[in-house]
């Protein structure tokens, strides 16, 4: 049973370096994101009691090295890594450090450049193993072909989801992919086929970037609010896989889909809300079939009904329940370590009603979902409260 966090936890500051494909230095991007988060919170680094760094590449001691630029305050600095869910897990560690009473203020900082990493799908140089042939693009494409077989989903539906996210990113100055025109379904379908039925414009944007979030107790949050609405973390849940029929042990990029349903169930219980209470959602939309399946696994609609949501435009900005409001992994980008923290950044801005042209009207509750290679699922629920 998911119990409530032992102490109330609030997001008091967020920061982000624009995601990009420009091979910028991760340390420099991390510094921008971290300092922005401190400025946003209105505190200096000496007030931070613990720092959780999320990164996949960058070397063994990158996190503590970057922390030295913020100040030699002697706080615990910890490296967190959980594949694509790294940033979400770093945020979760910060939340639980505050909730559990270890510190009153904790910071999560994610930075990376996916273009500089090895890992899944690497080529050459050694005996080939199953992980070499099962690129993430192939794994999720098989989700797609099976869904096409079972539900009758069309490539046009996948393209509609991707086009939506490309167009959401047009209103996000921090997104990696910013089209200078309205992206159409035909344009997405006409881009290079990479793994049937997924085209290059359906694949997440791999690149670099950084994002940060600072969390604190209610007492600290209220002291710093200056009348700004508070953003409370009402659920922080993480799971690995349980056994399911057709379980894949070798070559699975992420665990069974059921993992998302279970983690979300835990989060709803912890927050005391349900899917109908959500105003916006961020998900691990590395490929559009994921976002489509997550509509159902998160309980936004019934099984097999996700296609109808797409057709109705329910998940676009202005729709009933917007998904991937900043462009998602598809267009905002997916550098690795900072990706989950970019979701927290976006949701915090939305709940403060500071998201500009992509603002979801009257947003009060947002859910952030990330999946990670191996077997990781993380769900956070953030809610607006008046300061």
């Amino acid at each position: 049973m998911a119990t409530k966090l032992a102490r109330d936890v609030y997001v008091i500051g967020v920061g982000m370096h624009r995601f990009n494909n420009e091979r910028l230095a991760s340390a420099a991007m991390a510094d921008v994101a971290g300092m922005q988060a401190l400025d946003d919170a209105g505190i200096g680094f000496p007030e931070v009691g613990a720092l959780y760094n999320g990164y996949l590449g960058g070397g063994l001691t990158s996190g503590v090295g970057i922390a030295k630029e913020f100040g030699l305050t002697g706080i615990p600095v910890t490296h967190v890594e959980n594949a694509s869910a790294t940033g979400s897990c770093a945020f979760g560690e910060a939340v639980h450090a505050v909730a559990g009473g270890r510190v009153d203020v904790a910071m999560a900082l994610g930075f990376d450049d996916m273009n500089r990493m090895g890992g899944l799908g690497r080529s050459g140089g050694r005996r080939m193993g199953a992980e070499d042939v099962m690129l993430p693009a192939a794994f999720f494409a098989m989700w797609a072909t099976r869904r096409m077989h079972d539900v009758g989903t069309t490539a046009e539906t996948f393209a509609a989801i991707a086009a939506k996210n490309w167009n959401h990113a047009r209103a996000n100055p921090l997104a990696q992919r910013r089209a200078d025109h309205e992206v159409t379904i035909d344009e997405v379908l006409g881009s290079t086929m990479i793994s049937y039925p997924h085209t290059s414009m359906m694949a997440c944007a791999a690149g670099g970037g950084a994002a940060a979030a600072i969390v604190a107790t209610r007492e600290v949050a209220e002291r710093l609010s200056s009348g700004r609405p508070l953003v409370r973390v009402t659920a922080s849940q993480q799971r690995s896989e349980t056994y399911t029929d057709g379980h894949v042990f070798l070559g699975a990029v992420i665990g069974p889909a059921q993992m998302t349903r279970d983690t979300a169930g835990d989060a709803y219980e912890q927050a005391g809300v349900g899917p109908d209470d959500l105003d916006l959602v961020q998900v691990h939309d590395a490929f559009p079939v994921e976002e489509l399946v997550y509509y159902e696994l998160l309980g936004i609609c019934g099984d097999g009904e996700g296609d109808r949501l797409v057709a109705e435009g329910a998940t676009r900005l202005g729709g009933r329940i917007p998904f991937s409001t900043d462009g998602g992994l598809t267009a905002r980008g997916h550098p690795g370590g900072p990706t989950g923290l970019a979701q927290i950044h976006e949701t915090t801005l939305q709940l403060r009603h500071e998201a500009g042209a992509r603002q979801v009207q009257r947003a009060r509750t947002g859910l952030c979902h990330m999946a990670g290679a191996g077997s990781v699922c993380v769900v956070h629920i953030l809610q607006r409260t008046e300061g």
Partner: protein, 139 residues
């Protein structure tokens, strides 16, 4: 080609022996849960009880597939064009395997029977042919 074939990972599969016409994937069976697993497990992941080594059935049914339009699979290059198919195959023991597929997209239908086979991926330091496994449509 060298005369001797060597599996790239002998923990995952073995070559056909005797009058067998197909190689075998090396799995585990849990008598307590009556579940089968691949690759081999140290213990049953559901009951934590002891497992026994078994050879899995060499034929199954295609659950899902895709074709990757990328020129490399591990150390094998397909040049500037081409690519390769991959699939998920359900074996009768209830095990789902992910593997490369032999053939073209016209050969693969979800629900159709598939059989295990091998293909060369290079040579080891002793000059033996390294082979790994894949599935092909059974006609």
């Amino acid at each position: 080609m060298g005369a001797i074939q060597v599996p790239t990972d002998p923990r995952l599969f073995r070559l056909a022996e005797g009058d067998e016409c197909r190689p075998r994937l090396l799995g585990s069976h849990s008598p307590e849960s009556n579940l089968y697993f691949w690759p081999r497990r140290l213990r049953c992941p559901v009951t934590r009880s002891a497992v026994t080594d078994i050879d899995l059935s060499p034929e199954g049914v295609l659950y899902a597939w895709t074709f990757l339009y990328v020129p490399r699979m591990g150390s094998i290059s397909f040049g500037d064009r081409g690519g390769y198919g991959v699939g998920q195959i359900d074996l009768p023991e209830g095990v789902r395997i992910q593997a490369p597929l032999l053939g073209t997209t016209d050969d693969w239908q979800i629900g159709s029977p598939m059989g295990l086979t091998t293909f060369p991926v290079g040579r080891d330091d002793d000059g033996n042919d390294l082979v790994t496994f894949r599935f092909e449509a059974v006609r």
